[in-house]
Symmetry: C2
Subunit: 306 residues, 2 copies
């Protein structure tokens, strides 16, 4: 059985841990903050890592925000950051489409189920798209739509990709359109497959619950571009040219963050106990994913400098 | 291996078949008509059965229509019928809630994801409900909604059931509300689980694609009140006091209609070749459901009277 090493309060072990890595990939909610409450010591811990020359990357499945939007959120939380340190699933999706999928023109347009963050990142990569926040699709389906979708006259024949993220404006018309594009052979992508969105101490429908009707209708599963999908890890590696052996994933969820790091073959994974997963989960006999290290809270890493 | 008996052109076999049953349960689309085209001989075949004293019941998973609505559809197609001969999934759901589930007051209100057909049938059974076609829910979710759903102030504490059918006006707000009711322990029902709605020679999202985000979020599966769920068969049996041994299910789909009849222990099942399933499917070695009888088309049953 794999053991997880507990670092809290052990200065020697923390120093040894920090020396092993050049890059730290951070999940955010549950690690740096919870909801709208910044954890004490978050800023100082990030500063400590930067002062030791470590690269810090914020990795989030949030698909409604572009990197610019997300940086504003970090700033709002009091966390200094650069846009280039942020890797969100909308950006991950844009990178995947433009640099990995590379469909030939003209059939490389994207039909978007999602919000403006996705649109901003697609524009950054010069990817043409329709759908998204288009106000003309924020309405009830009509008899003319049923006919126009059935005979294809309402469809754009250049669409070769359906990208589904979190869409607060999802409706029957957009789902019916996305389905018709998939039926006509479009590639099925999802920013991420989180079934729920944690918010206000409860849950709301997540991006995975926007794409799941399409999975149900087509029997196809989308390629996901968020954690724990390795398509996201590949995109991160491509962008930052990181050495996986010298990279550590930090997160609070075994089945997204820690799985993401382990399946990505990173040099290490660090779990924090300030979020979703509990120590008992990875100490269980049948634990699927065991973090290499864990701390009670992220700021325990500052113990090294004391 | 079970063999399916082919009746087309065999008068003696048809007479023997007809003598075995008192009640015929009919699937409609693909059996009586296709899309908006009535099959030749449908009306005459139904008349033949009625003239022989057979009871005819139209069994449909259509959840957007009440029985009254559906009778208008039958009349519009040129098929004489009585409301009492119609058994649709909205009605099936209302019957299940009022006569089988019977939750104690006051926590027996229904939150509806669906159209007016469901509401009409719930009213017929004196079941109180919210949601459905309520225009105040046909809008975007707001920050106040996130807060009001999280703290429960926007929720009706009398809701003890979530009923999901086909909703052409599905949106994020309604899905978020339904999820909160399920999270608070509401019973999860679905009129039916058809992933798609056949229309205009293609497919659109079906009732099962409206409820599937809730399945994805909660990990719970709803009790379905449409074919092939036996909850629907129980409701039909309760209403018509039929003798299952003397009842035959007629349909075009192996995995809904024929499965429904076989699992219901009916005396027989009759497949027609004018719809979705093909003969090769039940002649396959690994066929899960084999109809007891089949004809090329429903009107071949008239061969008996020639």
């Amino acid at each position: 059985m794999v053991q997880s090493k507990y670092l809290t309060g052990d200065s020697a072990a923390i120093n040894e841990f920090l020396d092993k890595f050049d890059v730290f990939l951070f999940d955010c909610d549950g690690v740096l903050w919870s909801g709208d409450r910044l954890f004490e010591g978050t800023v100082e811990t990030l500063e400590l890592l930067r002062s030791k020359g470590k690269r810090v990357v914020f990795v989030t499945n949030n698909s409604t925000k572009s990197r610019q939007d997300y940086q504003k959120k970090l700033t709002g939380m009091g966390i200094p950051s650069e846009v280039e340190e942020i890797f969100a699933s909308a950006y991950s999706s844009a990178i995947y489409i433009s640099r990995i999928l590379k469909l030939p023109e003209p059939r490389n347009k994207v039909f978007v189920l999602g919000e403006s963050g996705i649109e901003q990142e697609l524009r950054t990569e010069n990817i043409s798209f329709i759908g998204g926040t288009d106000p003309s699709l924020r309405r009830d389906i009509t008899p003319a739509d049923f006919a126009g979708l059935a005979d294809g006259s309402m469809l754009d024949s250049d669409v070769g990709i359906v990208l589904a993220g979190l869409d607060f404006h999802v409706n029957y018309l957009k789902l019916a359109m996305a389905y018709q594009y998939l039926r006509r052979g479009a590639v099925f992508l999802a920013t991420n497959l989180d079934s729920t969105l944690p918010m206000s101490h409860t849950f709301f429908p997540g991006a995975g619950s926007i794409s799941v009707p399409l999975v149900n209708m087509t029997g196809q599963k989308p390629t996901a571009l968020g954690k724990p999908s390795q398509a996201m890890m590949d995109a991160i590696e491509g962008k930052f040219r990181l050495d996986r052996a010298r990279t550590c994933m930090v997160g609070d969820r075994l089945d997204t963050d820690i799985q993401f790091g382990i399946e990505g073959g990173l040099g290490g994974t660090l779990a924090v106990l300030t979020g979703v997963s509990k120590k008992e989960q990875w100490e269980a006999e049948d634990a699927a994913f065991v973090p290499a290290y864990y701390v009670d809270k992220l700021s325990d890493l500052r113990g090294a400098s004391s």
